[in-house]
Every structure is written in structure tokens, then in C-alpha cells.
């Protein structure tokens, strides 16, 4: 039945296109036909006309195709629903762009929440950003700016630039004169150009007709069919709740539909979306900044790296994950016991694809901390005659600040492709099998732009990816010192030829990198299968060298050992602050005694350059934009660093007074006009150093901009108590805007409240303390009294460490932690407090809620007994007892009581002082991906695996109201929640 309808729609579409007849009709005429006669072909023509643009918007904002498809469908279903009410004379392209944009933002927020869980669940494979992300980010920004254009400019821009129509066609569609279209289009481009330039993006080429339309990918044909079919159902008055669209699509349609209706809500939602955009954007940036930096490789576990010498340039946060910083700190301190790592054994066998053991294979265990893209090799071994190996390494202990951690065992052998298998980060013992596919040598050639063969150039394999059945692509990037198991670099011969070994035909993607000072850095991705016959040919451009002198702005004297690096201008937040793309790989230089630096850049036209003073001579970090002069291979840019206000400080433990080494100290200046925290002072193009780490005696020195700001401190481990600090101690803003996730309290281990600093002859002195908490250990036992096997635990003690830069709006969502042997540890506990801790074993449907008094725990071992979970059933109907059309509800576990971030925001409660947001954890997240929510029929929802005694919160919308309802279930109970009856106008917005 469905198939027949799709076929029919596609047939009609084909006919329509073949006839070309309806191309003459305006959008309004087509819409009118659809409204009046439910004419499928008319709707199909509209999808054909605008689908590519809408698809583009979806793809720019959403990384996953499935999410993009949902938004695409939702957008056109909304069109079907609103067809009759679209204003005459309004440009449909522009309308659809707006709807798609809003729906995509909404979906992105939902997705971010959902994906967060999936990602953090330790066994889930990594989902990496797709390679075209940069361009996509730019496109997303463009979409955003397009939305800010006045309608009269937006309409022609969408038609001509996003949909690739000619001026004449646009004129016909809009019913304007061609001159008018071209004039307004020019205006639109001008405005966009100005705005985008302000955001650091030069897009002149993309702003021209057709460029973006060309860049847009085709809409998947099946999606077109489904969408048209759906539109007809909507037109026929069918409810979205009928199960014929996915819940996500239905939710989106309802969500966006509502924001279109209500002005007050519109503002709130826009704000919400703005925030979520900022969060998404910055999160991604920070993530990637942390990620792409090479050089976190250490020599092995036995010798932890030495603490930074006083004269060393300041360490960039990207250079090392928090775990490593913490280790360095402790090594320096000596006095503080080391608690952040514990041993782990990885044993197993290396086998050929046919199961034969591979003697002599090289094996390495690698780990990624906190989503870094560059892994750390932890230990290596060689397989014995039976292909067996065993490697002792370490994994982070519960006291570690490391948020997420992934491990793989990697194996390689001559004449075989590299192979690997993922390790369960929670387990201390591993017995694994790594299979190696047959090798497929890849031949390639490097030529330079002048047509010369590039001889003697090293080609490195830096990433490989595999398509595993039922799992997404896995990337295994390696940089710096590669373990023996990894395919080694090769050098080109006199004719520029090279052959890559150690890659199997089973790989889906390989990334190679050319790193040679004579040429611009080059990375290239290819599919080994496609290169089995053809040669891989790469073009090298002459190196681009940026040179200059770094001086102090006050004395004009050169600064030695300043760190200079460059990166692309990419991003901006809604608050008007610029953010910078991650630095280019390998584009880092240190100034010599005369303050001179020299860095190599990729073949890019515009970028920013940053210079940061050395730790011994703290200065504000200077930033400057550079446009590379065409044809040049060398360019000069000098930077002068503002000394700012010199601040000296110490970090000590509160009661003992002992110095704390290895604490991270971040400074956040306030924007003078708005009182909001910012990263970069754009008036002066400076920023404070990104963070400093306290030395062995707990001291630190840094420079900060004049004016207001505050320090935030994070200890080297979780052993320090997270305190809830009222937001008013830090900022002077209204607690709205950028602070959506945390208007009232911040969770930090230490801080120095709002300061107002002016440059003086003497350095300013600050003192900061961290309060050392105690550790609580305990056991979780199952119903038989045995240690529970596989349990997820969460608590507000498990908040993630503050990101860098920390004050980007961040969701304070506790991280679920996996327990495999029944023993759990909680660190940084306040001895006076009682903590609510939640345990769930979703596979065995067991759970426990425990209020752990730290004082009591010190006297008596804590033991938590799991009990069978409860369930809750919710019935939702509309006012005529029919299945609800677009009910939007969500249930989450309340980890800390408080306001509901997703409900109270809309009800204006955020302004109420003294009440903080609750810490909520999504049901799905806690259950580590085990489906725990379902729709029984069209009216009944069941929430499964609820922890007995824990508070759950149902957020939902009733008509125009956003509500929440808290409930608890007893062990084994099936709780019937009171029915929700949607009011008349809510049933059909």
C-alpha cells in the first residue's frame, strides 16, 4: 500500500518534470492546487523545486543523515499543514528556509542531548566529524545569517543563491521585475558579506548565484517519496500520531509549529535555540581543538613526563589532556598521593583472517582521553608463536577527572593490513582477538605545483577507518611516534613515487599526510579499494612561511619563547564573540631570543595568528588576522603583546594549607558593556592566557586583561569537592542569555570571585583554596547478595570537569559511570554531606537509589542492594479521547532537585532567584542504550527500568503550557500516571 503510493508519487513527479508544464506555475499557484484538490503532483513540484535547498539546510546543521531526513520531512509536513495559511506574496523558498532552519536547530538540540548519552556509554564506537564539516559549519553560519536578513532580501537570496535559480526565474516566482531582484540580491549579498566578514568568514565566492546550490547534495529519492506521501496524509487531516511518521518527525512538526504560533514562546525558543547553537558550535570546536593537536604521545607508562620547567612556554590546553596535566602536577607535588590511574591487563591473540595465529605481530594498546583525536600509546608487545600477547597498562581510576576514555588493541605484521579491536574501558582484564586482513599495497605519486616530482618526501598514514557490520565508521588516528604495529611512513623516490604498506583491503578509508618543510602541509583521504588499480596522485604547493617578531607592547622589547600559532577563522557565537577554529596542524612556533618566530601554514588564504607569552613572562595573548598575499611563499606579521595585569597566586588545600600542584587555573574576563563573560576582547584583540597550571609549591603567575573577571580552579583529580557557587559571584549579567544551563549556580572545585583589576607596578596577589574531600567506596550487590556484574552509577559527584574555555554555556549533566565488579568509588565527597547516588542494571532490570552519608560511610562500609525496577505508564489522549496529535513529553531521572531546564525556562521561572536547575539525566542515557521507553499503542507510553525510590520527572506540553510532574516508583511497581488530556486547541495547532 505504502509502496504503491510512493511509486505513484514518483511517477507523477517524473511526469511533471517531463512535461515541464507546472514549472510555469508559481509557488502560490502550486500551493493553492494542493490546498484545493490535494493534488499530489503540485506538492511534488514544490518538493522538487525547494527540496535541495531544504536538504542543504538540514545537512549543514545535522551531522547524521537520519536526523537530517527527519527535519526534511518535518519541514514539508509543516508546509502541508500550513499550506492554506501561508501569506500570499510571501516567498515560499524563504519560508521553507526559515522553517527548515528552526526545525534543524530544534532537532540538533534534541540530538545533542541524545547523542551525549550514546557517546559517553563506554562501549559505543566513536562517531567522528565528517571531513566536510568545516565547510558545513560555514554553511550553517550562512543559513543563520540568511535568517536574519529582511524578507525582501532573503527571498531573492534563497531563490538565486541557495536554490540556484536564475534571476529571470526568481523574478517570475516572486512576481518582481528582474532589476528589483538583482538589486535586492546585491543588497542581500552585501549585508551577508558584511556580517560574515565580521564573523571571520570570507565567502564572496559562495555568495554568488548557484555556488551554494551546486554545493548542495541531491535529496535521497526515497525521502522525497515518503515526504510527499506524508504531505497527502496531513492534507487529508490525518494525525501525526498515527505512527506513520517517526516520533522524531512528529515532535519536530509539533515543536516548530508551536513556535510559529506564539509570539512569547517564539522569543523564548529563539533564545533557547541560540544558546543551543552556541553550545553545539563551541562544544564541537573545543572538542576538535582538544582533538587534533598532535604530540600527546609519551614514552610509555613507566616514566611520566617531567613537570614543565619554569622557562618553558605556556602549555596549551590542547597539548595535553587533563589526565596528563594532573599527572604532571602530582609528580611535581610529590606529597599528594597519586589516585588517578590504576592497572589494566590486555591479553589476547593476533590471528589472520582465516584464524591462523600470527607469530611476531606487533601489538600496541592505545587510549584516547576526553575525545582527543590523537591517541596515547600505552604499551607494546610482540605476539608469541601462538599469536599470544599480554600488555600491562593503566586506566583512569574513579578519582580521575578524565571524562571519557577509549582503548583499542592495535596489531600489525608485515604483509598484513593493520587491525584493531576496541576494549571495554570499565574492565580491568581483557582477553581479545585481533584479526588482520591481507595487505593491499597502495601506489602513489607526489608532484609539486611547478610540475616537478617531489622526491624524498615522507608520506605518513595518519588515520584509517573500517566499516564494521552494524557499526559506523571507526577512525584510528595516530600522530607523533607511531607504534610498530602502525603502517610506517614511506619516502618518495626520485620520481615522486611511493608505496604504502600495512593497509588491508578491508579498510573503508585511509588518510595520509605529507609533512615536509619544502611544501604546504597536505592531507588526503582515499578509499583503498578505489586505489587498488589507479595510482594515488597528490599535488604539493610550495611551503608558506609566516615570520615575524613578537614584542612587548609596553617596552617594545622582543619576547623570547613566546608561542605563536595560526588557525582558520571559522566560528562565532550568538553573543557576537568570535571563536577560532582549531590551530592548523603543525603550525606552531616558539620565538627565539630576538623574539623571532617562523611557522609553516597550509595553502589557505585567510587565517588568524595568535601569540602567547611564555610562562616566565606572562602577557595577554594577541590575535591578528592575516590575508595571505597571492603568489608569495613568505610573509611577515609582527605581534605585540599587551602585558595586561600581572597576577601572582597560590593554590592551597583549605584545611591543611598544603600547596596543590597541578591545579588548572582559568581566567574569564567580563565584557564591559554587557557584563557577560567573554573569551576575546575584540576591541583590543587580546585574550587571557588559556590556562595555567600551578607549580610544585602551588604557585602560579598569569596575566589578565584590565577590568572585571574571575578565576576558576580545577584540582588535579576528583579528590577535591565540587561546590555549588551562585552565579552572582562570577558575573554581573542577568543570568539569562548565554547562561541557560546554569543561571544560578556553577559547580567548581575552587574559584576567586569577581575581581576588578587595574595594571599596577606590583603584581596583584590572589589566593585560592581547594577543599579536599574524602573518598567513599562501597559495593553494589544484586538480589542474591552477590557483587553486581554490570551496573551504571550516577550522582552529582560525577559532573564533568569544566571545559576549556570553561564558561561556554555548558550542560551540567552528571556522567553515568560503569561498574563491572560490584565495587564503586566516589571521590571528592564533602564529609558533612549526604549524596544521592543512583544505580541501574538495565539488562537485569535492577536498580537502587541510595542516600550515602559520607560521615556514616567512614564508619561502616557502604553496601547498596539492587532491587527489581519499577515501571510507569502514561496515557495521553486529546479532548475527544483520540490518540494525541503531537504530544511532546520526556522523562528523566532527577539527580539533584531543582527547576526543570526544559520546562521552567519557558514558564519564565528562570528569573526567580535562589533556585537552581535540577541535574537531570535522560532515561535512555542512564540505561546505556538499552531501550527503556516505548509506546504501547497510540495512547499509552511505558517507561521501563525505573530505579525504585528515585525521583523521575515528566516534562510535557499541555496546550500552550509547559509542565512537569515528578514521581517515584516502588520496586516491581507498575505506576499509572494520571492521564494527560490535551485541550482542544492543543490537539491541532
Amino acid at each position: 500500500m505504502v509502496k504503491a503510493q510512493v511509486d505513484c508519487a514518483v511517477r507523477q513527479l517524473c511526469r511533471l518534470i517531463a512535461e515541464g508544464g507546472r514549472q510555469d506555475l508559481t509557488d502560490a499557484q502550486l500551493l493553492q492546487r494542493f490546498v484545493a484538490h490535494h493534488e499530489e503532483a503540485a506538492f511534488a513540484a514544490l518538493v522538487e523545486r525547494h527540496g535541495r535547498m531544504v536538504w542543504g539546510v538540514c545537512r549543514h546543521l545535522l551531522r547524521h543523515e537520519q536526523d537530517a531526513e527527519d527535519v526534511f520531512q518535518a519541514t514539508f509536513l509543516l508546509l502541508a499543514r500550513k499550506a492554506a495559511s501561508i501569506r500570499k506574496g510571501q516567498s515560499l523558498g524563504s519560508w521553507l528556509h526559515g522553517v527548515a532552519y528552526r526545525a534543524a536547530l530544534r532537532a540538533r538540540r534534541d540530538v545533542a542531548r541524545r547523542r551525549e548519552h550514546e557517546r559517553k556509554a563506554a562501549t559505543m564506537p566513536r562517531v567522528k566529524a565528517q571531513p566536510e564539516l568545516d565547510w558545513r559549519e560555514v554553511q550553517a553560519l550562512l543559513d543563520e545569517e540568511v535568517q536574519r536578513l529582511p524578507e525582501k532580501y532573503r527571498a531573492p537570496f534563497v531563490l538565486c543563491c541557495l536554490e540556484g535559480e536564475t534571476l529571470a526565474t526568481a523574478a517570475r516566482r516572486l512576481g518582481w521585475k528582474e532589476g528589483t531582484v538583482s538589486g535586492r540580491l546585491a543588497q542581500a549579498r552585501k549585508q551577508l558579506q558584511r556580517r560574515l566578514t565580521r564573523r571571520g568568514i570570507a565567502l564572496s565566492a559562495a555568495l554568488c548565484a548557484g555556488a551554494l546550490a551546486r554545493a548542495a547534495a541531491a535529496v535521497p529519492p526515497a525521502l522525497v517519496g515518503t515526504t510527499i506521501k506524508g504531505a497527502l496524509r496531513v492534507a487529508a487531516g490525518q494525525s501525526l500520531a498515527g505512527g506513520w511518521v517517526s516520533a522524531n518527525v512528529a515532535t519536530l512538526v509539533e515543536g516548530v509549529s508551536k513556535t510559529m504560533l506564539r509570539t512569547r514562546l517564539e522569543i523564548a525558543t529563539a533564545l533557547l535555540m541560540a544558546v543551543s547553537l552556541a553550545v553545539g558550535g563551541v562544544g564541537m570546536l573545543t572538542h576538535r581543538a582538544l582533538a587534533e593537536k598532535p604530540g600527546t604521545v609519551t614514552e610509555g607508562l613507566a616514566a611520566p613526563p617531567a613537570p614543565p620547567a619554569a622557562e618553558e612556554p605556556p602549555r596549551q590546553p590542547q597539548r595535553a589532556g587533563p589526565a596528563k596535566e594532573a599527572r604532571q602536577g602530582k609528580t611535581a607535588a610529590g606529597a599528594v598521593p597519586r589516585t588517578d590511574e590504576e592497572p589494566m591487563t590486555v591479553a589476547g591473540r593476533v590471528l589472520a583472517a582465516d584464524g591462523k595465529p600470527l607469530a611476531g605481530a606487533s601489538v600496541a594498546v592505545l587510549r584516547w582521553a576526553n575525545e582527543a583525536i590523537t591517541p596515547e600509546p600505552l604499551g607494546t608487545a610482540k605476539a608469541d608463536d601462538k599469536g599470544r600477547f599480554a600488555i600491562k597498562v593503566t586506566r583512569p581510576s574513579p578519582a580521575s577527572l578524565v571524562g571519557s576514555m577509549e582503548f583499542v588493541a592495535l596489531a600489525g605484521l608485515a604483509n598484513f593490513g593493520v587491525g584493531w579491536c576496541a576494549l571495554d574501558a570499565a574492565a580491568k582484564q581483557h582477553d581479545v582477538e585481533v584479526r588482520l586482513a591481507a595487505e593491499q599495497p597502495i601506489r602513489g605519486r607526489l608532484v609539486d605545483l611547478e610540475g616537478k616530482n617531489a622526491a624524498g618526501v615522507q608520506v605518513h598514514v595518519v588515520r584509517v577507518g573500517k566499516n564494521l557490520p552494524g557499526k559506523p565508521l571507526i577512525y584510528l588516528p595516530v600522530g607523533g611516534k607511531d607504534p610498530a604495529a602502525w603502517p610506517g611512513p614511506v619516502t618518495t623516490d626520485d620520481e615522486g613515487h611511493f608505496t604504502l604498506r600495512g593497509l588491508g583491503a578491508d579498510l573503508a578509508t585511509v588518510r595520509v599526510k605529507v609533512k615536509d618543510d619544502r611544501y604546504c602541509r597536505l592531507t588526503s583521504d582515499f578509499r583503498p579499494r578505489e586505489k587498488a588499480q589507479a595510482e594515488l596522485r597528490l599535488l604539493l604547493e610550495p611551503a608558506r612561511v609566516l615570520e615575524g617578531v613578537v614584542t612587548r607592547a609596553d617596552t617594545g622589547k622582543p619576547i623570547a619563547r613566546a608561542r605563536v600559532f595560526a588557525g582558520p577563522p571559522v566560528n562565532a557565537s550568538r553573543t557576537g564573540d568570535y571563536f577560532f577554529g582549531e590551530p592548523f596542524e603543525d603550525s606552531e612556533g616558539i620565538t627565539d631570543e630576538e623574539g623571532r618566530y617562523r611557522i609553516l601554514l597550509p595553502a589557505q588564504r585567510t587565517f588568524w595568528v595568535t601569540a602567547a607569552g611564555p610562562a616566565s613572562d606572562p602577557c595577554l595573548t594577541a590575535i591578528t588576522g592575516v590575508i595571505w598575499p597571492s603568489g608569495k611563499t613568505k610573509h611577515q606579521t609582527d605581534l605585540s603583546l599587551d602585558p595586561g595585569v600581572l597576577v601572582r597566586g597560590t593554590v592551597t588545600e583549605e584545611t591543611s594549607g598544603r600547596p596543590v600542584a597541578g591545579a588548572r587555573i582559568l581566567y574569564k574576563p567580563l565584557k564591559q558593556d554587557s557584563g557577560q563573560s567573554v573569551d576575546v576582547d575584540h576591541a583590543r584583540n587580546v585574550r587571557p592566557p588559556e590556562f595555567v597550571v600551578s607549580g610544585a609549591d602551588g604557585s602560579f603567575v598569569t596575566a589578565v586583561p584590565e577590568g572585571s573577571g574571575h578565576f576558576i580552579l580545577t584540582g588535579p583529580t576528583r579528590d577535591y569537592i565540587y561546590a555549588a557557587v551562585p552565579r552572582s559571584r562570577f558575573t554581573a549579567d542577568d543570568g539569562f542569555g548565554g547562561a541557560f544551563y546554569s543561571p544560578e549556580r556553577h559547580y567548581v572545585q575552587g574559584y576567586v570571585p569577581l575581581l576588578n583589576l587595574a595594571a599596577k607596578d606590583r603584581p596583584q596577589e590572589v589566593k585560592a583554596t581547594l577543599r579536599r574531600g574524602v573518598a567513599v567506596t562501597g559495593t553494589v550487590i544484586d538480589t542474591d547478595g552477590k557483587p553486581a556484574g554490570d551496573v551504571w552509577m550516577t550522582s552529582r559527584l560525577l559532573l564533568p570537569p569544566p571545559p576549556i574555555p570553561y564558561l561556554q554555556p555548558m550542560p551540567y549533566i552528571p556522567q553515568p559511570v560503569r561498574i563491572v565488579d560490584g565495587r564503586f568509588e566516589l571521590h571528592g565527597c564533602d564529609p558533612k554531606e549526604t549524596y544521592q547516588v543512583f544505580f541501574l542494571d538495565p539488562r537485569n532490570k535492577l536498580g537502587a537509589y541510595s542516600e550515602i552519608s559520607v560521615k556514616k560511610a567512614a564508619e561502616m562500609p557502604v553496601s547498596v542492594r539492587l532491587a527489581p525496577c519499577g515501571q510507569a505508564v502514561l496515557r495521553v489522549v486529546d479532548y475527544l479521547d483520540r490518540p494525541p496529535d503531537g504530544f511532546r513529553g520526556r522523562v528523566c531521572l532527577v539527580v539533584t532537585p531543582g527547576l526543570s531546564p526544559s520546562v521552567d525556562f519557558f514558564e519564565g521561572q528562570a528569573a526567580k532567584q535562589g533556585r537552581g536547575w535540577a541535574h537531570e539525566v535522560d532515561l535512555f542515557r542512564l540505561a546505556a542504550g538499552v531501550p527503556n521507553f516505548g509506546r504501547d499503542d497510540q495512547k499509552r507510553f511505558t517507561y521501563r527500568y525505573l530505579i525504585p525510590g528515585a525521583t523521575y520527572r515528566l516534562d510535557y506540553q499541555l496546550g500552550q503550557k509547559f509542565l512537569h510532574k515528578d514521581f517515584t516508583v516502588k520496586s516491581g511497581e507498575l505506576l499509572r500516571l494520571p492521564d494527560i488530556i490535551l485541550p482542544e486547541e492543543g490537539g491541532r495547532p
Partner: protein, 454 residues
């Protein structure tokens, strides 16, 4: 069948008017981008017929050269690289006549990336010019009607049944085929109607530029074009237009200006006989260029150095005539130098292309930049990654006898055709025989006014 005083009769060397270095240099500057010292010697030795014939039968590039060029073509991610790709063909290619004609057609069908905004479209157009460079004009003209870059440039894609856009139709007649005065307004309209239906197709898997004819948008009504009535389409436009003697004359005048002389407009007595042969040979460019480059008139003293070198001829020509090897010149720097001298490839000033002639020297910055390029190439420029020119290594490569290096440099730059004062000044500079002395001499020679002329 040539008349005794036919200016297009082949040049025959005589003792009074011999085949000399000046003529060899002239041929290479006009038909290509200059010749190396070795090539000049060879052609001086081989005589005019062999020299011209060689231009029409170039050697094939080596597999290595082709591969290098293909690699660059496959990595065209910005317009400077696109320019570098073409300049690479101009500087190192084995078929300079074809490249020179490609540059001619680029100026004739002047299309700019500033409006077209697509490298695949510009690349495709450039390759179309190159493919048809020496072919029959009808083929090139036909391809230009549906060329994706041209469809954007002159709004062909906004020209459809019921909404006639005359931009392409007008330029087709005014700039591409007949010239002003040989058609009326009604013809423009009829042409524009006949060209309807061509649309530039966006997308494509590899981003290649394409176009297609959409019959639904084609105006198939009756039109009267150049006094002929019928339901004409674009093929008819090409056919009817090429039937006009004015078309051949118009094109021959443009070829004359580009290849023979800019200083005086040729009279009908010169152009008509050439145009007749062009038309009677199916508008074969190869044929007309063969006549032109072999003719008495082409080697006449009256047309010698009667063209201003354009920036590409000047800058790339210098590289080519010095016979620099791959890697000795930075192609991106060369592209930027041409830009600064006001000849940005793929971005002609307007629909009429580059004005040429004296206009190159109207902009004092552009003139200064010619000097800068000479200095960069002769003395090197670390900011461009450009090594200094090595005159001694050059002399060895070219087989110049020892002690004759300065003279050879004068041969290759000015065919030794300069005033005695200038000559002795330059040779004085090189008297030491050191690399720097020779560089100084070369720089002086390149600043000699005649070097600005082709």
C-alpha cells in the same frame, strides 16, 4: 594562384631580405611566447618553412609532463591554481601556437570568473578554446552557444521562450562574429530567440560543468535573421552568420590585430583576400594561421615590433624564452605578477576582453609591476620562493660558447636588435663575466623599450 603583389604570398628569403634572427624571434613571439636561444639558432638554420611547419606539428608532451599537468588539474581548488595550470602549459608546453590561440579566444569570447563564479565552468571553457583553437570556427562558435560559463556570463540561462534576454544574441553578433554595422536590432532579437532553451546544469557527481537543451524553453517560432526567414535554431544561427563575408573579415581583423600589428588598422585590400581564403576553407583557423605566419606581410619591417606585449606574453614569455626548468619559477608568483600587471587570466576586464595595445601602459602600477617581475626573476625573491636566475648555468644548458653569454642573452631578449649605445652599455655591465654582471646585463636588456613590444 597568388598574385605577384599579394601580401599573403609566402615569404621567400632573399639576400636583400634574408631569414635572420629578427624574423625567427618575431615568429616565436607572435605565434607563441618566445623561443629559447637553442630554438632560435635551430630555426635560423632550418629556414622559414621548417620553422613554421614545426609550430603546426608540435611534439607530444611526455607521459611525465602530462601526468604532472593532470595532477594539477585534479587539484584545482582556487582560481590562482587554475591560472597556474594554464601558465604551466604556456611556459612549459610543447604547443605554444595552440596556447597563444587559446589566449586569443579567451580574449575574443571574454568570460570572467567574477560573474561565472565556478572553476569547473571556467576550466571547461578554457579546454574548449584549446580543443578548437586551430579548428574550424563553426565548431568553437557552436560550443560557445551552450558553454556553461558563457550561459552564466551572458545570461543565456535566463533566455527562454517568452522571456528573451538579448545579451548573448547581441554579443554574438557584435563581438563574436560580425561586428557593429553588419546587423540590425531585429537580427539581435531573432538570434536571441534562436538561442533559447540552453540551460546550465548545476550539480553533477564530479562537479563538472554541463549544459543541456530544454525543448520546452526553446522558442521554435519563425524568425527573420539576416534577411533569411525560418524556424531557426542555434545551429542555423551559426550557419547563416558564417555565410556572411563580414564574419570572416571581422575575425581576420581581430586575428590581424592579435598576431600581426596593433598600430595601424589594416585596409580592406589586406583583409579581404585573407577573409576570402578563411571562408572558402570552412573557416579553418589552422589554414588562415598558416597563410598568415608564412606570409611576406607577416615578416615585413612595417609590422615588426608593432604590438605591445600583454602581461602574460611579457611575464610568461620571459620564463619560456629563458628556458627555465620546472621548479625554477613559482607559477603562483607568475600568476600573481600577471594579475598585478592587470591581466588576470579568467577575468578579462569586460565583454570585449583586454583592450591591448597602449592600454597596457596606461596604468603606471602595471608598468612598475613589469619591472618588478623582471627583478624577481633575475635576482630572485625569497618572499616568492623564487631563486635568482643563473646565467652561467643557463649558458651551459643552452650550449652558448664561453665568453658569448651576454651576447646570447641579447639575442634571446632583443634578437640583438638595439642601438649601439644601449648595446655597449649592456655589454659593459656584463664585462666581468660574473653571474651578477650577467644578471645586470639581462635586467638592462629587459628594460630596453623594445622588449615591451612583441
Amino acid at each position: 594562384m597568388t598574385l605577384p603583389n599579394d601580401p599573403w604570398a609566402p615569404f621567400e628569403p632573399t639576400t636583400k631580405d634574408p631569414w635572420d634572427l629578427r624574423k625567427v624571434g618575431h615568429l616565436h613571439r607572435r605565434a607563441g611566447f618566445g623561443a629559447t636561444w637553442t630554438e632560435l639558432r635551430r630555426d635560423l638554420n632550418d629556414g622559414p618553412e621548417a620553422s613554421v611547419a614545426r609550430l603546426f606539428a608540435p611534439t607530444e608532451p611526455t607521459a611525465d609532463e602530462r601526468e604532472a599537468l593532470d595532477t594539477l588539474r585534479g587539484a584545482l581548488n582556487d582560481v590562482q591554481r587554475l591560472k597556474a595550470w594554464w601558465l604551466s602549459r604556456i611556459v612549459y608546453g610543447t604547443d605554444p601556437l595552440r596556447e597563444k590561440l587559446t589566449l586569443f579566444w579567451h580574449g575574443h569570447f571574454a568570460t570572467s570568473i567574477r560573474k561565472v563564479q565556478s572553476m569547473p565552468r571556467m576550466l571547461r571553457q578554457n579546454e574548449t578554446f584549446r580543443r578548437h583553437a586551430l579548428g574550424e570556427f563553426a565548431g568553437l562558435l557552436t560550443d560557445m552557444i551552450s558553454d556553461p560559463a558563457m550561459l552564466v556570463w551572458l545570461d543565456g540561462n535566463a533566455n527562454y521562450k517568452g522571456n528573451i534576454n538579448e545579451n548573448f544574441g547581441r554579443e554574438f553578433l557584435e563581438l563574436f562574429t560580425l561586428g557593429i554595422g553588419n546587423y540590425g536590432e531585429a537580427d539581435v532579437r531573432a538570434a536571441a530567440r534562436s538561442f533559447t532553451g540552453w540551460v546550465e546544469v548545476t550539480g553533477g557527481t564530479d562537479g563538472a560543468a554541463e549544459s543541456r537543451h530544454n525543448p520546452a524553453e526553446f522558442d521554435d517560432g519563425e524568425k527573420t535573421f539576416l534577411k533569411q526567414r525560418g524556424n531557426w535554431n542555434s545551429a542555423d544561427m551559426v550557419r547563416i552568420t558564417l555565410e556572411q563575408p563580414a564574419c570572416a573579415e571581422f575575425l581576420c581583423r581581430k586575428l590581424y590585430k592579435f598576431f600581426v600589428s596593433e598600430s595601424a588598422a589594416p585596409g580592406d585590400d589586406l583583409i579581404r583576400p585573407l577573409a576570402e581564403r578563411f571562408r572558402s576553407h570552412g573557416y579553418s583557423v589552422r589554414h588562415v594561421m598558416g597563410i598568415l605566419l608564412r606570409s611576406r606581410h607577416f615578416y615585413d619591417q612595417a609590422v615588426y615590433r608593432q604590438r605591445a606585449k600583454g602581461p602574460v606574453e611579457f611575464s610568461a614569455g620571459l620564463v619560456r624564452s629563458l628556458g627555465l626548468a620546472h621548479g625554477d619559477v613559482r607559477l603562483l608568483a607568475l600568476a600573481a605578477a600577471c594579475d598585478r600587471q592587470r591581466q588576470a587570466l579568467f577575468a578579462p576586464h569586460n565583454v570585449k576582453g583586454w583592450d591591448g595595445g597602449r592600454s597596457w601602459f596606461h596604468d603606471s602600477v602595471a608598468v612598475l609591476e613589469r619591472g618588478n617581475w623582471v627583478a624577481d626573476l633575475v635576482w630572485g625573491n625569497p618572499d616568492l620562493g623564487q631563486q635568482p636566475f643563473d646565467p652561467l648555468a643557463w649558458a651551459e644548458r643552452q650550449g652558448v660558447p664561453g665568453g658569448k653569454v651576454a651576447e646570447a642573452l641579447l639575442d634571446v631578449t632583443l634578437e640583438a636588435d638595439l642601438s649601439e649605445t644601449a648595446r655597449s652599455m649592456i655589454l659593459d655591465a656584463a664585462a666581468t663575466g660574473t653571474a651578477n654582471g650577467l644578471r645586470q646585463a639581462l635586467q638592462l636588456a629587459l628594460h630596453y623599450p623594445a622588449y615591451q613590444l612583441a
